[in-house]
């Protein structure tokens, strides 16, 4: 397994701790189901991205924490839904049985909606109304027809079919890129960043998000199940990036996307080095 950047641990710890405050382990069966996926071993790339973006734009880590947690809750919610028998019917997630295998389909659905709802509730509760409205809009867009829902819908329609590249990009953009962009944008918003900084961070996240997804495709083809936490060739029925470019081509393009992501950070200079480490980590996953 590729080691995450050293500074990551501190951010991960703060996110984990905050997530446990919002969704404590135990409680009712729905709460247990929510906590099961939310607290599963994870790199917390999205919330860390939110916090790094906030710090880069001069904001405080603590102020970005609620937005970061919201991102992770939406992500966990999407994973539960994605794994359902009516969707991908996946047996493993993050090295453990998927949520519906552990708690049953009905509780899995409730847990997914519980996390989704809690993410918006957190934003509404933690931020003043103007910022809360903007963050809610950003997150809703990432979840909606142009984001996770749209991406998953396109993904379902594409299963067992030959799809073209534009559709594949649409799926990746919706399922991964949208939340990456929302994570970076939200962090910048909590720091009160201007449109130029937000646009630069969105460009970083967009390129990094696709690179992340391409690498996921690569790992699915020749990755180690112990490292990826899911069964290899699980996506065999689907058209992936590798289908279009081959293994080597996919690696090359993922690296180029990471380089482009870094270049988008040039207005920030050395202050963005931690985000660059993040993209380097993403790129290294494919090596």
């Amino acid at each position: 397994m590729i080691a995450v950047p050293a500074f990551f641990a501190q951010y991960q710890a703060r996110v984990e701790s905050h997530l446990r405050e919002i969704v404590p382990p135990g409680g009712t069966r729905v709460q247990q189901s929510m906590a099961y996926t939310l607290h599963a071993p994870s790199k917390r790339v999205r919330p860390v991205l939110t916090m790094l973006a906030a710090e880069l734009c001069g904001g405080a880590q603590a102020r970005a924490l609620a937005a970061a947690a919201a991102m992770e809750m939406v992500h966990a919610s999407s994973l539960i839904l994605d794994d359902l028998p009516c969707m991908d019917d996946a047996p493993l997630r993050r090295g453990r049985p998927t949520n519906h295998r552990e708690f049953g389909e009905a509780f899995a659905i409730l847990a997914a909606f519980g996390l989704l709802n809690l993410s918006f509730e957190t934003l509404g509760r933690e931020y003043e109304s103007a910022l809360s409205a903007r963050l809610t809009g950003v997150l809703a867009e990432a979840v909606g027809l142009d984001g996770l829902i749209g991406g998953q819908a396109a993904d379902l329609l594409a299963t067992d079919r030959q799809i073209d590249f534009d559709v594949l990009e649409r799926i990746h953009r919706g399922k991964t890129g949208a939340l990456f962009c929302a994570a970076a944008t939200s962090g910048a918003l909590t720091a009160g960043a201007g449109p130029d900084a937000i646009a630069a961070l969105a460009a970083f996240a967009k390129n990094l998000g696709l690179a992340f997804q391409i690498i996921d495709d690569l790992l699915d083809v020749d990755g180690d199940p112990a490292a990826t936490g899911k069964a290899v060739r699980e996506d065999a029925r689907k058209t992936t990036f590798v289908s279009f470019s081959g293994l080597e081509g996919a690696r090359q393009l993922a690296a180029e996307l990471c380089v482009t992501a870094d270049r988008a950070l040039s207005p920030f200079g050395q202050r963005a080095d931690r985000l660059r480490e993040l993209s380097a980590f993403v790129a290294a996953r494919s090596l």
Partner: protein, 647 residues
């Protein structure tokens, strides 16, 4: 090393078209519009960004172009930066407006035919972008044609480089407009309508467009190229010396008819002696048939000195404008109907301030500069638009030299060579005293006090210029030229209000008589110059109408000396003065001059021995260095105002 896989190239292009990889410009242009939803707002915000890009890219290019077109405007790196900022703002605004109009026009079309957005949206965006790119490319190509005058047409590498830069800038701005237009269309698309995809930046298409644009720009450059390119090389001027020295006395404000009358009555013996030699009537225009044009001393005397009309020599008038932040100055042709209101508006906004015509504006060489370039020893005193003085043009006592000598302080290119300044400054009190004595002796004592004061002032000015000319001519010079403003100043002071009904007939008659008396004064001042003329010396007296325009507006060029054809009478124009003087010096005449040497003024023997030789052109004048102007600038204006030159 990766093996080349065509599938990867294809995917890379597709990714670019989907906004991944190097989409930096698109991101920059659309960044402020991300939060906007209204198409008009998106168009406005993105157009402002495009304007900013255009300003940054076109400003420096325009600064180079404008400094080529308007000599004197840019005197150094600081001026270039300021002009680049001005031009950047101007072109930024223009391109932003063009981008806004283009995107709004497309938006309007889309509203009328919403169903066509999906099918034609990208095409409309491409059309808007192409229009802006073509406009930009045409401008930059024409800019290069102007700007390269200093580099030369014999520099194909530079031309290719410039065109490539122009193509790159044009494609970039065109692409930005295209992206903006599509973004506006997407934002305004009806719900449920499939919006056009964001255009990509495929290398293949960009390269093809670049090659096409380059070929088009090159063709455009060739088609619009001037028939004869401007040469950059300084041609060799070979002098065939006649062994004669030439002295030119330029008298401003001469009414040719009055001069003839006074000579015929014997009141001007010294000038009569010169006029007895060869002489020519000079029309004030470019040709003898042209009528009198507006009399402005800086314009008139630069025309006489360069042999070119104002449109070519660039000094349109005495009053120029300095642009805020610049050392250089700019003149606007008085013929432009917009000149006066533009001047008033920019003065009001403090963007410009009045200044006086200087060598910065002049685009043609004067006769003394040509002579100095040819290796002759020259001196010029008090000619208009000679400041700042260049060391390469022999001895130059500029039109600001007396002001500097009066005030002292550090030299600011008022006198060249600089070492002359200390010597003249040392003798300045004595020179002033001598000028006052000469003036007092020369003026008519019967005049009343007021008129006498005016005449004394003019006479002192003229006497001072003649004394300065003598002071610098202590070593052998091939050419001395001195400009005398006294008559014009006296005439302007005394006669400008003669038409005023408040002035009684007797007062008006007195003033006319006073002006006539100044001709006599001037003649007395010139008498030593005429009598001292040696056998190896040509004396030329050049006159032009002053600001109180005479009816015929004629000037005179009279010549005495061993080579003057006695009694010869020719007709020419003011622009003929410079080539005639240069021919007397044995310098070849430029074919590019508007004037011609008045050969009938020379003896047949001289013409047989020294026929007119031609060169294709003279070099461009050396841009004078230095010349900050302040604080003498304002004092110069004040002095000229007191002498009636500036209102």
């Amino acid at each position: 090393m990766h093996q080349h896989d065509p599938r990867v190239d294809e995917l890379r292009q597709r990714l670019r078209s989907l906004g991944y990889l190097d989409a930096g410009v698109d991101r920059f242009v659309l960044a402020p519009a991300r939060a906007a939803r209204a198409p008009v707002l998106i168009a406005l915000l993105a157009s402002l960004r495009i304007g900013l890009l255009a300003g940054l890219l076109l400003g420096p290019a325009a600064a180079v172009g404008i400094s080529g077109r308007v000599p004197g405007l840019v005197t150094g790196a600081r001026d270039a930066v300021v002009i680049a900022l001005y031009m950047g703002a101007l072109f930024g605004l223009a391109v932003a407006t063009a981008a806004l109009l283009a995107s709004l026009a497309v938006r309007l079309t889309a509203r009328r035919a919403p169903s066509a957005v999906t099918r034609h949206g990208r095409g409309w965006g491409a059309a808007a972008g192409t229009l802006v790119a073509l406009g930009c490319l045409a401008y930059l190509t024409l800019w290069w044609q102007t700007a390269n005058a200093g580099i030369g047409w014999d520099a194909p590498a530079w031309t290719t480089f410039a065109l490539l830069v122009a193509v790159a800038i044009s494609l970039l701005l065109g692409h930005a407009v295209r992206v903006t237009t599509v973004a506006v269309l997407v934002a305004g698309a009806e719900p449920g309508t499939a919006a056009p995809a964001v255009p990509g930046a495929s290398w293949g298409i960009s390269l093809a467009a670049g090659v096409l644009a380059f070929a088009g720009a090159a063709a455009f450059l060739v088609l619009t190229a001037p028939a004869e390119s401007t040469p950059a090389a300084r041609p060799a001027l070979t002098v065939v010396p006649s062994g004669l020295r030439t002295r030119v006395v330029a008298i401003d404000g001469v009414d040719a008819r009055l001069l003839d009358d006074l000579i015929s009555t014997g009141r001007l013996p010294a000038l009569a002696a010169v006029m007895d030699g060869a002489r020519a009537k000079l029309a004030s225009g470019t040709t003898p048939d042209e009528g009198a044009t507006q009399a402005d001393p800086a314009r008139t005397w630069t025309t006489a000195a360069t042999g070119q009309p104002a449109d070519l020599h660039g000094v349109y008038g005495l009053e120029t404008r300095r642009i805020a932040g610049l050392r250089g100055s700019v003149t606007v042709s008085e013929r432009s109907p917009l000149a006066a209101p533009l001047r008033a508006a920019t003065d009001l906004l403090r963007l410009t301030r009045p200044s006086i015509a200087s060598g910065h504006e002049r685009r043609e060489m004067t006769f003394w500069e040509v002579a100095a370039e040819a290796g002759l020893r020259t001196a010029v005193v008090n000619w208009w638009a000679t400041w700042p003085a260049s060391r390469e043009a022999g001895i130059v006592l500029t039109d600001r030299a007396t002001l500097r000598l009066e005030h002292g302080g550090d030299l600011d290119s008022e006198i060249a060579p600089p070492e002359l300044y200390e010597r003249l400054r040392e003798h300045w009190p004595a020179l002033r005293q001598r000028a006052a004595v000469l003036a007092a002796a020369a003026i008519d004592e019967r005049q009343g006090t007021d008129i006498r004061t005016v005449l004394q002032r003019s006479a002192e000015l003229d006497a001072m210029q003649l004394l300065l000319a003598d002071a610098v001519a202590d070593r052998a010079l091939d050419l001395t030229a001195v400009y005398l403003p006294g008559l014009d100043i006296a005439q302007h002071s005394l006669l400008r209000s003669v038409d005023d009904s408040a002035l009684s007939a007797s007062t008006a008659a007195l003033r006319v008589e006073a002006v006539k008396s100044y001709y006599v004064t001037l003649d007395r001042l010139l008498a030593p110059v005429v009598s001292a003329a040696r056998d190896d010396e040509i004396l030329l007296v050049l006159t032009a109408q002053g600001r109180v325009a005479a009816e015929n507006g004629e000037g005179r060029l009279a010549m005495t000396g061993p080579v003057a054809r006695r009694g010869a009478l020719d007709s020419g124009a003011l622009v003929d003065a410079a080539p005639t003087i240069l021919h007397a010096l044995g310098v070849p005449i430029s074919e590019a001059l508007a004037g011609r040497p008045l050969t009938t003024l020379f003896t047949e023997a001289f013409m047989a021995r020294y026929p007119v030789r031609r060169v294709r052109h003279y070099a461009a004048p050396l841009m004078p260095g230095g010349g900050r102007g302040r604080p003498l600038d304002q004092e110069m204006i004040d002095r000229l105002r007191s002498l009636g030159y500036v209102r």
